[in-house]
């Protein structure tokens, strides 16, 4: 008779793999990236492996560093908008919004009601498109190919909407200090309503395809866990923080651009694993949809440009009659406007977390310093902690779940 001690049950759980130690004391160090589709950009992670278990993961960043903060110091206030949207290129409207609001705070200007609603509308559309890219790529990293095409199909429609308002699909630079580039064209709202009519069906399909999928759930539950307290200490923000049970959304706690007037919820999960982060973002898409719907319903008519004399170009007819008006127009267009001396820190809730602009002005036509607190930068910092003790295949899922954009990290 065989005693129970001799029966060896083969198992592939993480802990036993670690104990079995197939390579003896030897550890293997591999370089994940920088050219790897699952690193979502140009990220290199130096992974130390014991068999298939991650002992240590060290992110190596800077491949996309282009000195944008330095470039901003050498551009005029209005020109900087073209750079901000190139940082976090998946959430470009949000990045523009943060900068524009920070400068408006320095100037003491408030946007007109129509502009505020349009800004909320487009920022939330951009949040949707950013989450769609996350959804498609994250699920593809874990092994499901087809959701990617469905999500990019929807995202394509959003990019068409951006093209409709600004002429550019990716780097719109549509928000300007004191207003917008131009008012929305007549074709925009019908096109937007067409998109809105089909989006909820897409979300339902997404849930059927992935959320209810047993394989996907098994691959994500209990992976890359972080507690709320740790997440705060490590500086996590946005959906990644809310998945650890911390209810912090800057749209609620420090409302800007009139977010306090919209009725939406802040999704919270408590487990702090990849699955929880997935659920939070999926529900955030529904909330963004609700905000967009409300913005369409309440879009007021009226001017889009605030009346501040530094920001508004004079009327054409006046320019033909008065030389001083002509000079004023020339100075704004050729030399730009000045911003009072001072410093502000303006945080907004981007698709990835707290995006902060710390702007120092010395009263000239160019900003003295624009510091961008990028949410992805801090969200990536926690990766070694999340990945420790996980399987290499899970590391890919973890990178996807913190939703980093390397343009945002390296700037």
């Amino acid at each position: 008779m065989v005693s129970t001690k001799e029966i060896v049950v083969p198992t592939t759980s993480v802990t036993t793999l670690g104990k079995r130690d197939p390579l003896g004391d030897q550890r293997m160090t591999i370089s994940l990236g920088p050219q790897h589709p699952s690193t979502h950009g140009v990220l290199r992670v130096e992974v130390e492996l014991d068999g298939e278990v991650v002992v240590a993961a060290r992110p190596d960043i800077g491949y996309l560093h282009t000195g944008m903060e330095k470039t901003m110091e050498n551009q005029k206030w209005q020109q900087v908008v073209t750079i901000t949207c190139r940082m976090d290129y998946l959430n470009s409207m949000g990045n523009d919004l943060g900068y524009v609001l920070a400068v408006e705070k320095l100037l003491g200007v408030e946007a007109t009601p129509r502009t505020q609603v349009l800004r909320v509308l487009l920022t939330e559309l951009n949040r949707l498109s950013s989450h769609l890219v996350w959804w498609g790529t994250h699920v593809m990293d874990i092994g499901a190919m087809s959701p990617f095409f469905y999500s990019f199909d929807q995202r394509e429609k959003i990019l068409d909407l951006f093209e409709c308002v600004s002429g550019a699909r990716f780097h719109q630079s549509y928000f300007r200090i004191g207003g917008l580039m131009a008012d929305i064209p007549n074709t925009f709202l019908p096109l937007l309503k067409e998109f809105m009519a089909g989006f909820l069906d897409f979300l339902q399909m997404g849930k059927r395809l992935v959320t209810g999928n047993k394989i996907f759930q098994t691959r994500t539950k209990g992976i890359g866990v972080i507690s709320g307290e740790d997440a705060l200490n490590w500086g996590l923000s946005g959906p990644s923080l809310r998945a650890s049970g911390v209810p912090w959304d800057i749209r609620k706690t420090e409302p800007y651009t009139g977010y306090e007037k919209y009725d939406f919820e802040v999704p919270i999960e408590r487990d702090g694993d990849v699955w929880a982060r997935y659920l939070v973002r999926m529900r955030e898409m529904e909330e963004s949809y609700k905000i967009i719907q409300q913005a369409i319903d309440r879009l007021p008519s009226g001017p889009i440009q605030s009346d501040h004399p530094k920001l508004k170009l004079p009327e054409r007819d006046l320019m033909k009659e008065h030389i001083d008006v002509m000079i004023h127009h020339f100075l704004i267009a050729a030399e730009g406007f000045t911003v009072p001396i001072g410093e502000v820190y303006f945080p907004i809730e981007s698709a990835r977390g707290e995006l902060g602009y710390y702007i120092v002005s010395d009263g000239k036509e160019k900003p003295w310093r624009v510091r961008v607190k990028a949410p992805s930068f801090l969200n990536l910092q926690v990766l070694p902690k999340l990945a420790e003790g996980m399987l290499l295949a899970d590391l890919i899922g973890i990178i996807g779940s913190i939703d980093i954009v390397l343009g945002d990290i390296d700037r």
Partner: protein, 174 residues
């Protein structure tokens, strides 16, 4: 405000402010009384409070700000470096942006540094998130963070010379 958020806010003791309270910056009086020796200036502008301190007091002040019940700055939003100009004295400033989730308020702590003696103690023991942000300032400005666990360049290559965000660093190549 949703029921869920309210409940979560209560259980985690998080304060969520209404839209009318626009100023989210804290009154720095409690701090001034405790650390009068280290505080050089308290500035309030545009609803934001900046406390300029001496670097010797940085670590105790930050620990106090995190742990004091009426302040509870449990989130380090940002650490930013500023070069005040090639000929400015002091030349550098390091600005810490703190946020408190329980009280929903913010505070800016600022330290000025002269060029020949540009160091500041690390706060990465207090908030782990400071680690990379301090490395970035070291990389971009050459400000030294003493007792930092891993002070290396982060964005520029390891063998790079110079600090790109200094005002005397050229933008157009040599």
């Amino acid at each position: 405000m949703t029921e869920e958020l309210k409940q979560a806010a209560e259980s985690n003791q998080l304060a969520v402010r209404g839209p009318n309270q626009t100023s989210h910056y804290v009154d720095a009086q409690a701090l001034s009384a405790q650390f009068a020796d280290f505080i050089e200036e308290v500035v309030e502008a545009r609803g934001e409070v900046t406390v300029v301190i001496k670097r010797e007091g940085l670590v105790p002040i930050m620990a106090f700000l995190r742990d004091e019940a009426s302040l509870k700055f449990n989130f380090l939003s940002d650490v930013a470096g500023v070069d005040l100009g090639e000929f400015a004295e002091p030349r550098f400033a390091v600005a810490y942006h703190l946020y408190s989730l329980p009280h929903n308020h913010r505070l800016r702590i600022k330290v000025f540094l002269i060029e020949d003696d540009a160091w500041v103690p690390t706060v990465s023991e207090i908030w782990k998130s400071a680690n990379w942000m301090e490395r970035e300032i070291y990389d971009m400005y050459g400000v030294d963070f003493t007792d930092h666990p891993d002070l290396r360049r982060i964005l520029m290559p390891a063998d790079y010379e110079g600090h790109p965000l200094r005002k005397d660093f050229p933008t157009k190549g040599y």
